[in-house]
Amino acid sequence: MALEYDKKDCFIVEGKLALPYSYFAGRVGSTFITTLRDKKKIMGVKCPVCNKVYLPPRQTCERDLTDIRDNWVEVQPAGEVINFTVVRYDDKYLPRKAPFVMALIKLDGADTPIVHILDGVSPEEVVIGMKVEAVFSSSPTNNILDIAHFAPKKPEKVYVSQRKVSAKEKEGGQPISDEQKLKQERRKEMSKKVIITAALSGAATMKNQNQAVPYTPQEFAEESYKCYKAGAAMIHVHAREDNGMPTHDHKRIKDTHDAIKEKCPELIVNLSSAVGMGKTPEQRISQILYVKPEIASLNTNTMNFSIVDRKTGKVFIDFIFENTFTMLQDFGKAMEENNIKPEVEVYDLGGLDNWFLIAKQGFFTKPYNFNFVWGVAGGMEFRPDMFMVMKHAVPEDANFTTCGVGTEQFPAVTLSCMVGGHMRVGLEDNIRIPTGELAKGSYEQVEWAVKIAQILGKEPATPDEAREIMGIKKQ
């Protein structure tokens, strides 16, 4: 019964239909799309005979055939979910990775619901009747995605002048406790503190660029001490062999860590989990677990991490810095399980979103600490606008610091300090001071960072204050 043809030498032609086209949206559709795009207004048309408000708009009422093309009415950008599904398969034409919610949403002022994507709520929490509002796209798409998606409607805004001291007081309950008051005051006090980190070496800065780059444990200890005296609370370490090569050797790294702690027990030592080029995931994480520092770097995306001539664009060394989701997950988990605070290294927004995705697993403990890294060849150049986007993208109660390669170092840390973040300097990122002269050591950059903090009305945090801010348990 079934067709059973000879299956020998059958050739399957793999093909693809790809057909660029243009499509006139129609006069009614054109008005709808351009008004949505340019004015962030959602327009329907109302039939004067049956009073039905159609969305999407159209030329004719299909019920009574009335010409309604010019009878525009603005509908509200908010409404309620009347039906939904959770799309649980992935495909190239779908606008989201599964699972995502597709919903029929009836906007206030419209009679016909429209289909759209509902974000900002987990699929399990979607219910029919839920109030939602449009989130407009920040860049034009020229189609219905000029409404980027819908999201649960936020409660009405309460102005500060109308706000009571606390929710409990508003309900006539007890005012906040003394302990809570103390905590609030402490938080206010700490907001004046800025944590200065010195990254002494990195994996690539060599003595032939700046003599002060430390290689031996003793040199690390001496440099760290100078930075501490200048105002640093934390030292970021990529350990080196005597010949300057970055190393994953457990003993060498521990010796370097211990030498710093011996010379200056107060300092926080932040170990790199990147180590240097060409290290395996195992080599990268095992040394962290062996040394157990108080804090360690956790990288968020696989990226180009190259050496490219900034003036000519010539590529000197091409390198892929591998940080898969699995590594982000496994390294992060291992650190949290061993009481090592991750410092989340963010080279671009995608990396931050990678962290958010993995963070859904729930193993990262608050407060979160991010480092925005600028100027890596393969990452992003420092742009103040983008810095603010990153600041707004991290959770409100998270800490952030920043570092920038070369001349981006000081502009980046200045902005960070100005908007409530922390600062990382050091020869890893830049071998010079803002005057253009070679830095005498990382400590000289720390001195500059302290000046910036003072100008901006901040004080360098002591290591213990830094621990309190970053949620580090002293070991």
């Binding site: 019964m1 079934a2 067709l3 043809y5 000879d6 299956k7 059958c10 399957i12 093909g15 239909l17 499509y23 949206a25 559709g29 799309i33 159609y54 969305l55 999407p56 299909e62 039906n83 939904f84 599904t85 959770v86 799309v87 649980r88 398969y89 495909d91 190239k92 034409y93 779908l94 606008p95 989201r96 597709m102 029929l104 009836k106 016909t112 619901p113 429209i114 289909v115 759209h116 994507i117 699929p123 798409t141 020229n142 189609n143 219905i144 995605l145």
Partner: protein, 381 residues
């Protein structure tokens, strides 16, 4: 009552998950030869087939003018040729128009679809939506049907057990149908634990990827006896289309199916379904559609779907004895598969699944998202 048209012969290949080793031309040729050997119909321009009608779709065939690839194997060269890229049951309406207008005595009607050819069925059905209001959202027939399922299940008290029972029964019935896709027998638990596809639809609630082809000969009343001693008569046909935008319609109203059924019955001169039909073949792309379309054609009252399934209504009314579209027919051809099952049943040729005393049957098909287009045909012996 309108004039009637005969279906004199049908031919088909077995529904298959992936006929990669057969071109759709091969699939059609098998059916074509089946038709010729049963009827000895000729291609004489006076007394034979003057017009060939085919059913296929450009997107699914990955070429435009999809009929161009097959006109030779279906004998269409040097005569009238027409294609419908619409649900196949509507081809019967087209054939009736050719015949009842007197322009043709005989219509050869062939259809094919290889769903396995495409990387993604969803990518194809996403293209059914307009490029700026709907398509960018990723709408396809599965996720839109899922929203209809949610709405319908609420109004007709359909639960997970009901849906599971429909799937279990479909697989069981299909085992008695030699042309049905070979699928594993499943139990209620298998269905209820099958992964969610698009809530509330689960993978097993949805018809699987299928390749298939068919052929049939339709003829006017006068000449039917030249080709068969047992014609099956089409006495009524109607279709109806609903609004395009999903939000414009009540997803549970069955407006279009009610409209099409009413008109088809009227043409056939039949007052109501009760005691007038021995079987029904309904186009269930997804399990929830079986009770929903049963409500639409009027076997049961609106809202009674859940109760009816619990009370064994599907077996009592002989719904989808073939296994239905749910067991696997390709999109576009579900309607032809329904008609062909009714044809066998009414001729008493349905073997192990034969409904005793079948004299009249109703076949239904649907196309578009959430039952937008509906078609109904009444068949009698």
């Amino acid at each position: 009552m309108a004039n009637r048209v005969a279906i004199c012969a049908v031919a088909q290949i077995k529904n298959d998950p992936n006929l990669w080793h057969a071109r759709f031309q091969n699939m059609l040729l098998e059916c074509f030869e089946g038709i010729i050997s049963q009827t000895n119909v000729s291609f004489d321009m006076e007394k034979g087939i003057r017009t060939v009608l085919t059913c296929s779709d450009d997107v699914w065939d990955a070429r435009t003018i999809s009929d161009n690839a097959i006109t030779d194997v279906v004998g269409a060269h040097f005569r009238g040729e027409e294609k419908i890229a619409q649900e196949s049951l509507n081809g019967l309406g087209y054939a009736m128009a050719c015949i009842l207008s007197g322009h043709d005595d005989i219509i050869l009607y062939m259809g094919h679809m290889k769903e396995s050819q495409t990387e993604s069925r969803g990518m194809c059905t996403n293209l059914a939506f307009d490029p700026f209001y709907c398509r960018p959202l990723g709408m396809d027939f599965v996720n839109v049907n899922a929203m209809q399922a949610r709405a319908y299940m609420a109004t007709s008290c359909i639960n997970e057990e009901h849906l599971a029972n429909i799937v279990v029964r479909s697989r069981k019935n299909a085992k008695k149908n030699p042309y049905a896709r070979n699928n594993a027998i499943v139990n209620q638990d298998d269905v209820m634990k099958s992964p969610l596809l698009s809530d509330p639809l689960r993978e097993l609630h949805y018809y699987p990827t299928t390749d298939w082809a068919f052929g049939m000969i339709l003829c006017n009343e006068k000449r039917a006896k030249e080709f068969t001693g047992k014609p099956v008569w089409i006495t009524g046909f109607a279709n109806c289309i609903d609004s395009y935008f999903l939000g414009d319609k009540d997803l549970t109203s069955n407006f279009t199916l009610k409209n099409a059924t009413e008109r088809a019955l009227k043409k056939a001169g039949i007052k109501g379904l009760k005691n007038n039909f021995e079987l029904y073949e309904l186009c269930d792309h997804a399990a929830y559609q079986l009770p929903m379309w049963a409500e639409g054609i009027g076997i049961i009252k609106d809202g009674d779907g859940g109760k009816w399934i619990s009370e064994g209504g599907l077996d009592e009314c002989n719904i989808n004895i073939s296994g239905g579209m749910l067991n696997g027919n390709p999109l576009l051809l579900g309607g032809a598969a329904r008609v062909i099952e009714c044809f066998y049943q009414l001729r008493g040729e349905a073997d192990k699944r034969q409904v005793k005393g079948a004299k009249r049957a109703l076949a239904q098909s649907t196309y578009g998202a959430a039952g937008q287009h509906q078609a109904v045909v009444i068949m009698e012996v």
